[in-house]
């Protein structure tokens, strides 16, 4: 199994008006093994989206390296953006098929598992935000990526819709496991979804703590368990309190 190694020594932005440089990431090291689901938790503006853009190959202006084990070619990266970023002039099916040469059976399976089987020929303008987000998740899964990046994909959904979407995501991920880096600032969401939590500090971004979520996956629907784990985290790792 390939491991993903992220080693970013420096990432800075230059302010175009006063030409000052602001360092966003400094000496950040992360490792993802097997098909691990990792949640990155940190306050907003700490550079999480910047990190994901670097991993997605959208931002090449950084020092350091990212490698995916032995494989020579660039890894396939699926990216679920904060806004769904669907092409409004293409139907749900076309949006997914454009991003990957999916077999029709796979497409039907994915749409079915996300509860969108009837929306295949719908244009995105006719979908709710929750549905559009699910389409963008399908688009990312359909390409069968080496690494799946998710940038707060459930933010601003109402809690029941968000919970349903989380559940669908985990179901799908269990059927088609991939390495996942999931950015969130909702600790409950992170505990529900992740194998491992990584807490990030800002200015510049660095890792504060890495915590393995010990709750078995089949017990994570119980909110009391999640809440209990969360309370315990604050006691065991007081340094994360400031982030949330």
């Amino acid at each position: 199994m390939n491991n993903l190694t992220i080693n970013i020594t420096d990432k800075s932005y230059i302010n175009p008006t006063d030409k000052t440089s602001k360092r966003v990431i400094k000496d950040l090291q992360l490792n993802l093994v097997n098909n691990e689901f990792v949640c990155l938790v940190g306050s907003s503006g700490c550079g999480k989206t910047t990190l994901l853009n670097i991993l997605a190959g959208l931002d090449a202006k950084f020092s350091g390296n990212i490698s995916l084990g032995k494989s020579q070619k660039a890894p396939k990266v699926g990216y679920v953006f904060q806004n769904p970023r669907l092409l409004p002039w293409r139907t749900v099916q076309e949006n997914i098929e454009l991003a990957s040469e999916t077999k029709i059976e796979t497409l039907d399976f994915l749409l079915e598992s996300m509860g969108l089987a009837t929306e295949k020929n719908t244009f995105p303008a006719h979908l709710s935000l929750g549905m559009s987000r699910r389409v963008s998740i399908i688009r990312a899964f359909a390409m069968d990526p080496d690494l799946l990046l998710m940038d707060e994909p459930f933010v601003s959904l109402d809690p029941p819709t968000a919970r349903q979407a989380q559940q669908l995501l985990i179901d799908l991920w269990s059927k088609r496991p991939h390495k996942v880096l999931f950015v969130t600032h909702d600790l409950r969401e992170a505990i529900t979804l992740a194998d491992r939590l990584i807490f990030l500090n800002s200015n510049p971004m660095s890792v504060i703590s890495e915590i393995t979520v010990s709750i078995p996956r089949n017990e994570r629907l119980e909110e009391a368990k999640i809440e209990q784990f969360r309370q315990q985290l604050f006691i065991d790792y007081p340094e994360i309190t400031a982030l949330l």
Binding site: G78, Y79, N83, L98
Partner: protein
């Protein structure tokens, strides 16, 4: 349904009113320079029957479509290029301003002087007049492209042609339609001047001839034929195209 019904009745009424006004005015003035709609209709029918009208109309339409096609194609390509590359844009911006401000008549005269009274010179003159407008419109459209969608396309490894066809082109569509509409209106006026100055057929040549003969009825007959044709293009080609491309909107 009711609404459409009302609309067609209204537009029928408005055209009838326009014709009645024209008829009344012509009768009242009783002058050679303003023939009645009836006289004009008669001339129109004779011209159609003799084949004269369709011959000249076809010539003009041919020049129109060739020069329009070249101007749109080149204009879109250059517009996208300038919109995507700020350095190129800064370099060529002055050229654009110069070409935008050269009077149409000057380009036409220069083309005829430099390249002779030929078909190529005529078409070139029209293209040069239209091109800067298309470039400017498409460049604005390209500058307004959604970078989030472009990033998405990059991340999902869309090929260049795929990005152009599925991400860029649909966003440029309203701008292309704007360039098409304003272009058509501009080009056919220029084509007439080009024909008047240096061709021996086409609408412009005919109108010039009628002007020398002081034949207002023929001038009006040709104008009606031409306006109908342009409206036909709008209704039968542009509108359906627009509708198809806009079907995804709510």
């Amino acid at each position: 349904m009711n609404f459409i019904y009302h609309r067609s009745i209204l537009s029928l009424l408005s055209i009838s009113f326009f014709l009645a006004l024209w008829y009344g005015l012509a009768l009242y003035l009783n002058a050679e320079t303003l023939p009645t709609p009836l006289t004009v209709a008669k001339v129109l029918i004779t011209e159609i029957q003799s084949g004269q009208l369709s011959h000249h109309l076809r010539k003009t339409l041919y020049r129109l479509s060739i020069s329009f096609g070249i101007a749109m194609l080149l204009g879109c390509a250059i517009g996208i290029l300038l919109g995507r590359h700020p350095k190129l844009d800064t370099f060529f911006d002055n050229w654009l301003v110069i070409f935008l401000n050269i009077p149409a008549l000057v380009t036409i005269i220069l083309c005829y002087v430099w390249f002779g009274l030929t078909e190529t010179a005529a078409i070139l003159a029209v293209v040069i007049n239209k091109l800067p407008n298309v470039i400017v419109t498409i460049r604005e459209g390209t500058r307004a492209l959604d970078t989030e969608l472009l990033d998405m396309a990059k991340c999902y490894r869309f090929s260049k042609s795929k990005t152009l066809r599925h991400v860029i082109w649909p966003q440029l569509h309203p701008f292309v339609m704007a360039a098409t509409r304003s272009g058509l209106a501009l080009i056919w006026k220029i084509v007439l001047v080009v024909e008047m100055l240096g061709r021996s057929d086409g609408m412009g040549y005919q109108l010039h001839l009628f002007f020398q003969l002081f034949d207002v009825a023929s001038i009006l007959a040709y104008t009606i034929a031409f306006v109908t044709l342009i409206q036909g293009i709008e209704l039968l080609i542009l509108k359906p195209l627009d509708k198809h491309a806009q079907r995804w909107r709510r």
